[in-house]
Amino acid sequence: MTGYLLRRLAQVLPVALLVATLVFSLIHLIPGDPVALMLGDGARAADVEALRHQLGLDQPLWKQYVGFLTGLARGDLGASLHYGKPVTTLLAEHFPATLELALAGMLVALLLALPLGILAALHRDGWIDHVSRFFALLGVSVPNFWLGPVLILLFAIHWNLLPVSGRGGVLSLVLPAITLGTALAGLLTRMVRSSLAEELEKPYMVTARAKGLHRHRAVLIHAMKNGLIPVITVIGLQFGALLTGAIITETIFSWPGLGRLLIQAIRLRDYPLVQGGVLLIAVTYVLVNLLTDLLYAWLDPRIRYEKA
């Protein structure tokens, strides 16, 4: 297990480096001058040049790249061109809001998917199964940039039950979390259903029932334990999707998270901020995948990563 952990940790570094290089190349290819955007249309050429020099943007691209990598090695992501603050400070300010939203979205997805998926598996091909399947497909098909405004219209404007937008307290989290978590709920419902249904057909379940174990106990004690293991992998993989899916949800609900910050940063050509933000999301994604794999190995001792 330790060998596997070290090997996987060693893989994180090159992936992060490649992501950093990719994002550096992309952001510098974006047409438009960040300095001209910062100073506005009426700025004098001399002022633009001076600021460009001050920010190091007049240096050749390879020098900027080396500077970016050396800074990265020291944990310094540079300063935001627009806000003037260190990128790490800005990310630290905005990341908790995104993480909070992603976790709440995950909670919504699990609260919907677990009961629906389990019921569907227990009543395979019955009406509950069909209804659950319909809702699962509806969940993965509904665009979150439409669901969000519809929820605002109903729950915030018509019935005045929840806040329209912004971050403040648990109530403000409800609509964004539903908007973000619905698609994942659909995906997980299908996953829970198929995984559990497969377990229910295995010989050990017949043995458990033959020994007189009540169906509910057999399902809860035996089938669920095994059937939910593949679901954990999907949850891990989808967590990254939640982090990025939050970009649209944050835009709809004016949620002060990383997604909105990044969209603004791309529009303002704020190179260091875009690089830092994307890197943070990518590394979080890779680390969550690693944690998922470790959890998977811990839950299912048959998985022998040492031999892989």
Binding site: Q11, P14, V15, A16, L18, V19, L22, V23, L26, I27, L29, I30, P31, R133, L137, L138, V140, S141, V142, P143, F145, W146, L147, P149, V150, I152, L153, I157, L187, R190, S194, E198, G240, A241, L243, T244, G245, I247, I248, T251, I252, L262, I263, I266, R267, V274, V278, I281, A282, Y285, V286
Partner: protein, 273 residues
């Protein structure tokens, strides 16, 4: 036929294709025709989905919007499918360093937040239809490559492949004539789900103002425009959202129905991305 989901999915796909093809005949009005005096008018018998913020007929704009969705969906599926299938097939068949290289590259693309990559690419290239398609192909090929690689890894060990090899068939012939036809059913499912994903992503980009630019009708852009009129004219966002929902749901039903029809016992690895 006891496959209602397949029927529903195929019917939706056919309807959307026909609507895109015959938009000029099906749309009741010119989608750009403005009637500022009646702007934001609610649905009525003369305008079934109402009028938008510039007094344009929403139903006509929806009908024309199918053209963008269909073009993006089909192009992305074809191009991403082609690139992903070629790379995945070669990696799976040869294994070794070629495979390791492809896996590392796909790791990077998977670790890179897809929608962010698309946003950044469209920002680099400019918000135009072909750039949106390019961006979605860049983020979409990985799914096909991984899927095909996995399938080829399994199939290349089959006896009929070994026989072909013994008979002296070239690798190109084995891959093209023996292995890839076996992968085709799984690819069809992935294509159907991939088209749904591409339509959603295009609409998402247009919603963020990075996709198709006005005055061309795009469902995502129509929802974005409707957001500022949620209070006084909710129909602006409601109808384009329903159009996306029904189309994407139809494609998902089609994909789901195909999974069940091709693989009723769930023995093959068909992933939903």
């Amino acid at each position: 036929m006891k496959k209602p989901e397949l029927l529903f999915g195929a019917a939706v796909l056919l309807a959307v294709l026909l609507m895109a093809l015959f938009a000029p005949w099906l749309a009741p009005f010119d989608p750009q025709l403005q009637n500022l005096e009646e702007r934001l008018a609610p649905p009525s018998w003369s305008h079934l989905c109402g009028l938008d913020e510039l007094g344009r007929d929403i139903l006509s704009r929806l009908v024309y919007g199918t053209r963008i969705s269909v073009m993006v969906g089909l192009s992305v599926v074809l191009l991403a499918g082609l690139v992903g299938t070629l790379l995945g097939a070669v990696a799976g068949y040869f294994g070794g360093r070629v495979d390791a290289l492809l896996m590392r590259v796909s790791d990077v693309f998977l670790a890179f937040p897809g929608i962010l990559l698309a946003i950044a690419l469209v920002a680099v290239l400019g918000p135009a239809l072909r750039n949106v398609i390019f961006a979605l192909v860049i983020i979409g090929w990985v799914g096909y490559a991984r899927l095909v690689r996995g399938q080829v890894l399994q199939i290349r060990e089959a006896e009929f492949v070994a026989s072909a090899r013994v008979a002296g068939a070239s690798w190109l012939r084995i891959l093209g004539l023996h292995i890839l036809p076996e992968v085709l059913p799984v690819l069809t499912v992935q294509a159907s789900l991939g088209m749904a994903g591409a339509i959603l992503s295009e609409a998402g980009l247009s919603f963020l103002g990075l996709g198709i630019q006005p005055p061309t009708s795009s469902w995502g852009a129509m929802i974005n425009a409707g957001r500022s009129h949620l209070l006084d004219a909710p129909h602006l966002a409601l109808f384009p959202g329903l159009a996306i929902l029904v189309t994407v749901m139809g494609l998902n039903f089609l994909g789901d129905g195909l999974v069940n029809a091709l693989d009723p016992h769930g023995k093959r690895q068909i992933t939903v991305r």
